[in-house]
């Protein structure tokens, strides 16, 4: 069921504060978080988070397209070992 609009998006408050401090400092750092339930807000764009998946902190580079999704969506909790074949990775 959809969340009521009047409540606004859910985000853990301490996470918002930490992101603001990190953005203000201008340092390129990984913010390790456990809060997979928090919504990605526009304030987070450009920051890099390490989102815990129960075992390790998966690096999540926040872009505009990710706003509105939850952090947990980008940090899968199950292992999938694919083949590299002809796949490419682009350095951001």
């Amino acid at each position: 069921m959809a969340r009521s609009v009047w409540k606004g998006p859910f985000v853990d408050g301490y996470l918002l504060n930490k992101a603001e401090v990190s953005r203000a400092s201008g340092r390129n750092e990984i913010i390790k978080i456990w809060s997979r339930r928090s919504t990605i807000l526009p304030q987070f764009v450009g920051l890099t988070f390490g989102v815990y998946n129960g075992k390790k902190f998966i690096p999540v580079q926040v872009t505009e397209n990710m706003v509105g999704h939850k952090f947990g969506e980008f940090s899968p909790t199950r292992t999938f070992n694919g083949h590299s074949a002809d796949k490419k990775a682009k350095r951001g």
Partner: protein, 172 residues
Amino acid sequence: MTKRVLLGEIGRPHGVRGLVRLHAFTDDPMAIGRYGALTDATGTRSFAVQPLPGGLGRIEGIADRDAAARLTGTKLYVAREKLPPSTDPDEFFLCDLEGLSAFDADGKALGTVRSVEEYGAGAFLVIQDGARELLVPFTKAAVPAVDVAGGRVTVVPLPEVVVEPRPGEEAA
């Protein structure tokens, strides 16, 4: 010895005319037919594979079900040189990155690139050093130099800030 890349695997036979299920590991499943003849694990047999819609494939010279069934489970490889060179200097084949040695800016060994993973939020390198695992975002800031020919990457691990959940919040 030339490096070979696993592109797919022949599955079970389909029908009586020699078609097979084709498990393509390529980015585009139809691309498995673009690299010419593929070889098996030993490199002795080669197969001209034509991918068909619906996950099927036709192999040149295979015209009946029994012959197709004998190939079930055969892995299909291609020589690394047959993959087209990348036009973007910041774009790398995963097979090139895997196995590179990772060093920090001072030249200290950090381990070996075990894999490159991407879950929709930017690619990252998984660097293995014994039991220790280091996850590094694949960005110019964190990975300033990639020397595929030299077999090494330079990694500058980003500083980490831990945001501890408050009591009771970690269980939610």
